[in-house]
Amino acid sequence: MSYEKEIMEKLSRGETSPDRLDISILRYMWDSSPLSFKESYHDFFKKISVLNSFSDNEVRLFTKFLHRREFTTNELIFKQGDSGYGFYFIYSGSVNIYANHNAQSEEQGDFVIRLEKHQYFGEMGLLEEFNRRSATVISSEHTVLLGIFKPDLERMLEMHPVLGAKFLRETALIMANRMGQLTRELIAMKKKLKELEQRI
């Protein structure tokens, strides 16, 4: 729903409209306009494919629930086995993901993938009740992450239920995509294993 539409609906329901200039909205609109040089959160989220269905106003509301976290080069974001509560979007920089991390030794484990700007990770932490991180994530350069955590999601569902439901649907889509990818990889691996067995 657009901002204008939201205001019109509020008026038709007999609710009061803001009678003064909302500076934060003006600033947000300026930052997200083509005249602004810096990349705003708005432009950033408009480039994230899974959040395509969000209207401009919904993106604006969504950014209110985010936490900006900065990490230096090689800083640990989270360890495999840690309790997970948040979902991160890479605003700038990049991160490396490692599996089979050993907690006793300081080894990072096996390198799995490098995620760059506009990519995301940790969505399971937002949905599962007792989530344990399945991999270790370390920043590979100076990185800025935008994180959304369980309390934020609960607050979003309370304050803006439609937006919350939409975000949950997108998160479920992300997980479904990951599951699909995993299934395809598993099928390919099984196929390879069968070929190897036949050769032996």
Partner: protein
């Protein structure tokens, strides 16, 4: 962990410790601040309903809240209305009460001596009366101090509350930004859970107290027992303290029954009213409203209340429960992490 992360962690804990030390050193500021924060947490769920929805919904919700608060606070107004008369009446009857209690205790002493040949040498009745007299003298002497702090609270609490409602989001963002990365997720989630549970617990206890107080008042009105509003109010307020509260709430009613010369005043009736109210509370109200929020073992609850009373008096007895529930949650998290990483 890298050197800069360790420095950030040390700085953060130093800031935290300094804030706690400041709080302990300046209780005149910390107490109204804490009180305002509790009210803010209690009001938070209501503000959401009052600020969203259509105008009609907001009017209905405001009206419902007004009715609820009036119902909750009516016994307090009824009590305050006759407070001076009731207090002087009670003060005049104190020697009579002493005599009645001494008679009962003497009968009990004789019974114990005849039955078990044990001579009770202690005199708890005189001790209690002396203690009560000393306490009331102390209270009267400290009235000017209380009045000045009440005036201070009248000024500070609304001021703090205003800024909590207006700036809490900004302040919590600023605080969250200061939390070092390695402990951010856990601290944020635990902090949010604590805030939610604390607010929910205090609201639930107040609703529980209102229900119990109303049942006791209604019951005492039906059996025509004296001071139904005061006794209902005391029963409700003392009930905020788990396990110990119901017993404390019962004591004034026993004293009133002992002092009363009216033959219609029935000790048994009063006992039935209090027992029924506490049974309803134990079977229905507490499991539905409170137990899900804190979920603590009864022994831990009792030990916590004793600890709370030592640390912060009556207020300490009430607020210690959600704090213990929070520490339980915190230790559970730390233990879970240690069991994975060790």
């Amino acid at each position: 962990m890298k050197r800069n992360e360790v420095i950030k962690l040390i700085l953060f804990f130093f800031f935290l410790m300094t804030t706690i030390a400041f709080g302990v050193l300046f209780p005149r500021l910390t107490l109204p601040f804490g009180f305002s924060y509790i009210i803010y947490l209690m009001a938070k769920p209501f503000t959401l309903r009052l600020t969203t929805g259509s105008r009609r919904q907001r009017i209905i919700y405001s009206a419902l809240m007004a009715v609820g608060f009036t119902f909750m606070l009516f016994p307090l107004f009824a009590t305050l209305y006759n407070a001076d008369t009731n207090f002087s009446q009670f003060y005049q009857q104190l020697p009579e009460l002493q005599k009645i209690l001494q008679d009962h205790f003497f009968k009990f002493k004789v019974y114990v001596f005849e039955r078990f040949s044990i001579n009770i040498t202690v005199d708890p009745v005189n001790y209690l009366i002396a203690k009560m007299e000393a306490m009331s003298a102390l209270f009267l002497g400290q009235i000017p101090d209380y009045l000045s702090s009440i005036l201070e609270w009248f000024l500070l609490v609304p001021l703090f509350l205003y800024f909590f409602f207006k700036e809490s989001r900004k302040f919590s963002r600023w605080f969250m930004e200061g939390i070092p990365n390695p402990i951010f997720e856990k601290t944020y989630v635990l902090f949010s859970q604590f805030n939610t549970k604390f607010g929910e617990y205090i609201i639930a206890k107040f609703i529980e107290a209102t229900i119990l107080g109303s049942i006791v008042t209604a019951g005492l009105l039906i059996i025509d027992f004296p001071y139904p509003f005061i006794l209902g109010f005391v029963a409700g307020i003392t009930n905020i303290l788990p396990y110990i509260g119901p017993v404390l709430g019962f004591v004034p009613a026993i004293l009133v029954a002992l002092l009363s010369k009216d033959p219609n005043v029935s000790m048994l009736g009063m006992f039935i009213v209090f027992s029924t109210a506490n049974l309803i509370d134990m079977i229905l109200v507490f499991p539905l409203l409170v137990s899900k929020i804190v979920n603590l073992h009864p022994i831990i609850v009792v030990v916590s209340i004793i600890l709370g009373s030592q640390l912060g008096g009556v207020v300490g007895m009430i607020v210690i429960i959600p704090f213990i529930a929070f520490f339980k949650l915190l230790f559970k998290e730390i233990y879970k992490d240690l069991s994975v990483h060790l």
